[in-house]
Symmetry: C2
Subunit: 343 residues, 2 copies
């Protein structure tokens, strides 16, 4: 899922997302949308899809991750989290009920329980206590959810890198019978081996017939490794954020477009790629645009990287259908994690 | 002509320029393109059109205006101008011959003589001496132009706000028989009445059957007033630059999208406008994007403002054909110069 933090996938239009990138669903951040423009305005517009002119599925997160990142500006109690806006310092309170009210107003198709995402590293004791609160919040959110027929509410599995806590979390949420399960609290600084260990561990616990969403992950290699472990859905700002700085994802690895080697390279980013950037522009031109901080440069690199991410997911899906996923992932991951040497 | 300073009309793709904005020609700045990516790279790419994937006409300016704006970083002699790059302080020399070599390499369809654009205000004595040099440079450029069959070289009329100097400049250039004439040295700080007086004065001197290009102008009202005075071509960064900050040009005047009045306004920027922004997005959404400094916001406002500028030029052309131009301009100018009150 491309990430549209405040209601726009950065640099990209909804038409490009639909026609070129072929995104099926995009994500909005509850915390950001609540602050600006405010969920009441989005509700008056007829929901986030109408407001942003995106006519396909959408998902909102719970705000938990963003609120927890405001260290020093927030206070956690059993009731909820009191925090100060990073924009203007104003005080706000998120509770499971409030977050549900906000997400009901924003109106995405898939919404998230309010959770505490503990920092990394944190003591196991802290994570265990935090988990108890998050499980209570999951129940309260489920209770408060006003549009269950229209919006699928996912529970968020927490528990850090501890398998016993992850099991406890997953089993408690499964009892509440959510239509899907998110895996939170990963990609927060732990080693990627720990991330893979936890998704692999949860693969045997989470129900097979319901979607599993790994929040905030990751590199193309991370995606393939976690698909191996049964994950179905991902979101990450990486393709767009890195692209704006000129680090472009391709099937041959990362292409650092500012490199002098591309100064007079009049071939596309990826000659085999079918995106608007690769069909129309050269590395030399895109390099020049990125160096000059031209918006068109950020548009083209973001477009390509998102196109590639979605295409990679299509390839993974096909490999699963063809029963060749392990081979596919084993071949691709090392290439994806390299710097492009020659295409 | 939308302005593509370093080879990109800011925030806009060539497809949008062609299909939505319906631009017939765009401009590149010789000074900027010479510094980055360098005219040699553009030449290797096959010219600026190929480099930027713009398959319609293009114009480059002479670099004179930009170089003169580097006050303190430049030294003018009869030979040319020695200056320091605003990017890295490196030393460079522009002469009429060098500027022609650069523009021949860049390869635009219409190119400009190297000129001195005196600051405003300047003494009449200074402007007269500067004009003599500029006329010498025009001859030298004409001589040095290597692709006259492919690139139309325009002479630039200078002379400040002084009619006798403007006459001298225009008559000398007319003798050199350029395929078109530019009017430089206006919109540099003088009153708009002085600008209109000079274009009106030149209207009787410049040959009717050759294009007249007023450089660096201006607001929609400026355009209509100068069309009255026989000007055929304009370029200005105003539609895009102002749009990125949320000041949007419409047929009803300037719309300041950040205004609180648009917070819950779910109508388009201009309900009668046919551009991508107006067909798909509301003022409330665009306001939110611009306030959040989202790239999509800058894309949409830039797209609309350029679409409007080109549409306004089409309306002016039609009014001329219909022999109703004076009435059209008299009606439109006061509206265009107002702030939108209600659409």
């Amino acid at each position: 899922m491309p990430v549209g933090t405040v209601g726009s996938v950065k640099a990209i239009s909804p038409d490009e997302l639909r026609d070129d990138i072929k995104a099926q669903i995009i994500l909005g951040n509850t915390y950001h949308l609540y602050l600006r423009p405010g969920h009441k305005i989005i509700e008056k517009a007829g929901g986030l899809q109408k407001f942003t002119n995106w006519n396909k599925p959408m998902l909102t997160d719970s705000g938990g991750f963003q609120v927890m990142s405001l260290s020093g500006l927030r206070k956690i109690t059993r009731e909820g989290v009191r925090f100060q806006s990073h924009l203007d310092g104003s005080y706000h309170m998120f509770t499971p009920e409030r977050v549900m009210e906000i997400q009901n107003a924003i109106g995405a198709d898939i919404i998230m329980s309010f959770d505490e995402c503990p920092p990394y590293p944190a003591s196991k004791d802290y994570i265990a206590k935090s988990l108890d609160v998050t499980l209570e919040w999951a129940e309260r959110g489920l209770e408060a959810h006003n549009r269950p027929e229209e919006q699928a509410l996912f529970g968020i599995v927490q528990g850090g890198v501890h398998e016993d806590l992850r099991r406890k979390s997953a089993e408690a949420l499964i009892k509440l019978d959510f239509p899907g399960y998110s895996i939170g609290g990963l990609a927060v600084g732990e080693k990627k081996e720990d991330m893979y260990r936890i998704t692999s561990f949860l693969n045997n616990i989470l129900p097979e017939h319901k979607p599993r969403y790994l929040m905030g992950v990751g590199t193309p290699g991370n995606l393939l490794e976690n698909i191996r472990n049964g994950v179905d859905m991902f979101d990450c700002v990486m393709p767009t954020r890195n692209a704006r700085k000129g680090s472009i994802f391709t099937r041959h690895g990362k292409l650092i477009i500012k490199s002098a080697r591309y100064e007079e390279d009049f071939t596309p980013i990826d000659p085999e790629c079918n995106c608007y950037a690769c069909r129309n522009f050269s590395r030399a031109y895109i390099r020049h645009l990125i160096k000059m901080q031209e918006i068109l440069g950020m548009r083209l690199t973001s477009l390509h990287s998102l196109h590639f991410y979605l295409e990679l997911m299509g390839m993974a899906r096909q490999a699963i259908f063809d029963d060749k996923y392990e081979e596919f992932a084993n071949d691709m991951v090392p290439v994806l994690e390299s710097i492009v040497d020659h295409i």
